[in-house]
C-alpha cells in the first residue's frame, strides 16, 4: 500500500486492512447475515402475494394516463380476492394477453352473467378514449383472468426509484455495489 499522508488515506488503509484481517469465519458470517436479509425480504414479498391474492401486490405507475390522481412513479397497493366482484368505477391493474406491462385504469363498463362470467371495459381517467385500442387485436373486453389486482392504497413518488433503476442501469449497479460494500464491511461491535 502506498504510504500516502492525510486522514483520508489513513482511513481507507484501515478499511482494507480490516478486510484482509477478517478471517474466513467472519467473512462467512457476514455473507450469511446478508443472505438472511435477502431471504427475509423475499419471504415478506411472497407473504404479500399470498395475503393479497395478487401476483404483484405492489406496482409502480408507469404512465400519466390516470392523472391527476396518479403520476408516473407513484406506488399502488393491490388486492385480488377471488370473491371481489369487478364493478364500475374501480381502479384495476391488468395485463393485456401476451404483454408484460401492467396497466392501471378505471373500469367504465361491466356486463356480468348469472354464472359469474364477467366482461368489462377500462379507460384511463386522463385518456379521451377507452382502452379498446390497447387490448389484443379483436379483443373488445377484459376478463377476470386479465386482472392483476384492484388498487386499494397509494403512496406518491416512492416508486420513482424503480423507474430510475430501469432507465439508468448504471445507477442500479452503483446502488448494488454500495449495498454490497456496506454489508461486507460493516462490523458489529
Amino acid at each position: 500500500w502506498p504510504r500516502s499522508g492525510g486522514i483520508r488515506g489513513g482511513a481507507a488503509m484501515d478499511l482494507f486492512g480490516d478486510l484482509r484481517r477478517m478471517n474466513k469465519r467472519q467473512l462467512y458470517y457476514q455473507v450469511l447475515n446478508f443472505a438472511m436479509i435477502v431471504s427475509s425480504a423475499l419471504m415478506i414479498w411472497k407473504g404479500l402475494i399470498v395475503v393479497t391474492g395478487s401476483e404483484s401486490p405492489i406496482v409502480v405507475v408507469l404512465s400519466g394516463s390516470m392523472e391527476p390522481a396518479f403520476h408516473r412513479g407513484d406506488l399502488l397497493f393491490l388486492t385480488n380476492f377471488h370473491d371481489d366482484p369487478i364493478r364500475a368505477g374501480e381502479i384495476v391493474v391488468f395485463k393485456v394477453e401476451g404483454r408484460d406491462i401492467p396497466i392501471v385504469h378505471r373500469v367504465i363498463k361491466v356486463h356480468e352473467k348469472g354464472n359469474g362470467n364477467i366482461k368489462f371495459l377500462t379507460k384511463g381517467d386522463n385518456n379521451e378514449v377507452d382502452d379498446r385500442g390497447l387490448y389484443k387485436e379483436g379483443q373488445n373486453w377484459l376478463e377476470k383472468k386479465d386482472v392483476v389486482g384492484r388498487a386499494r392504497g397509494f403512496l406518491p413518488y416512492v416508486g420513482m426509484v424503480t423507474i430510475i433503476m430501469n432507465d439508468y442501469p448504471k445507477f442500479k449497479y452503483a446502488l448494488l455495489a454500495v449495498m454490497g460494500a456496506y454489508v461486507l464491511l460493516k462490523r458489529e461491535s
Binding site: 391527476p68 390522481a69 396518479f70 364493478r87 364500475a88 368505477g89 374501480e90 381502479i91 378505471r106 367504465i108 363498463k109 361491466v110 356486463h111 356480468e112 352473467k113 348469472g114 366482461k119 381517467d125 377507452d130 379498446r132 373488445n140 388498487a151 386499494r152 392504497g153 397509494f154 403512496l155 406518491p156
Partner: protein, 150 residues
C-alpha cells in the same frame, strides 16, 4: 329524455344504445352522503379533508337484462380537485360516454338505476369507493326511435 336507438357503430352486432340526459345538482354541506337527482342534496365539502387530493365522481347506470344478470355502464364522470368549487350545478347534461348495452336489453327495460359515486383519492393512503345513497330509476321505452337526432 330517453331514446332507444338501434346501434350503428358498435364493435359487435346490433346492440341497444340508450340516451339519457340529466341534471346534477350537488351542493355540499354537512357530510350526509345522500344524493338526489334533479334536486339539491349532496354534501361533498366535508369529504375534502387534509388527506383528500381529489374526488373522481361518476354517474353509473345499473340494470339487468336477459343476456346479463348485472350491467353497469358509466355515463358521465368528473374530476374534482381539492379547492375546486364543491357545488355542482349541471343542467341538462348529456352522457359523456355512449350508453351501449351488451345486446338488446335496453328496449322496454323499466328499471335502470342511476347512481352517483365517487372515488376518494388521498394524498397517500387508502382509495375508497363511495356510493351516494340516493338513486334515480329511469325506464326505457318499448320501441326504438328511428330519428337520428339527439
Amino acid at each position: 329524455l330517453r331514446k332507444n336507438v338501434e346501434d350503428f357503430t358498435g364493435p359487435r352486432e346490433r346492440s341497444d344504445l340508450g340516451f339519457v340526459t340529466f341534471d346534477i345538482t350537488a351542493d355540499i354541506l354537512n357530510g350526509k352522503k345522500c344524493m338526489v337527482f334533479f334536486l339539491t342534496g349532496i354534501h361533498l365539502q366535508s369529504i375534502f379533508d387534509w388527506n383528500v387530493k381529489q374526488l373522481f365522481l361518476y354517474l353509473s347506470a345499473e340494470y339487468s337484462t336477459k343476456n346479463n344478470a348485472l350491467n353497469q355502464v358509466v355515463l358521465w364522470d368528473k374530476i374534482m380537485l381539492r379547492g375546486d368549487n364543491p357545488r355542482l350545478s349541471l343542467k341538462d347534461m348529456k352522457s359523456k360516454y355512449f350508453f351501449f348495452d351488451d345486446g338488446n336489453g335496453l328496449k322496454g327495460n323499466r328499471n335502470i338505476t342511476l347512481t352517483l359515486s365517487w372515488n376518494v383519492v388521498p394524498n397517500a393512503g387508502i382509495l375508497p369507493l363511495v356510493t351516494g345513497s340516493g338513486h334515480v330509476s329511469v325506464p326505457f321505452p318499448d320501441t326504438y326511435e328511428t330519428t337520428k337526432s339527439y
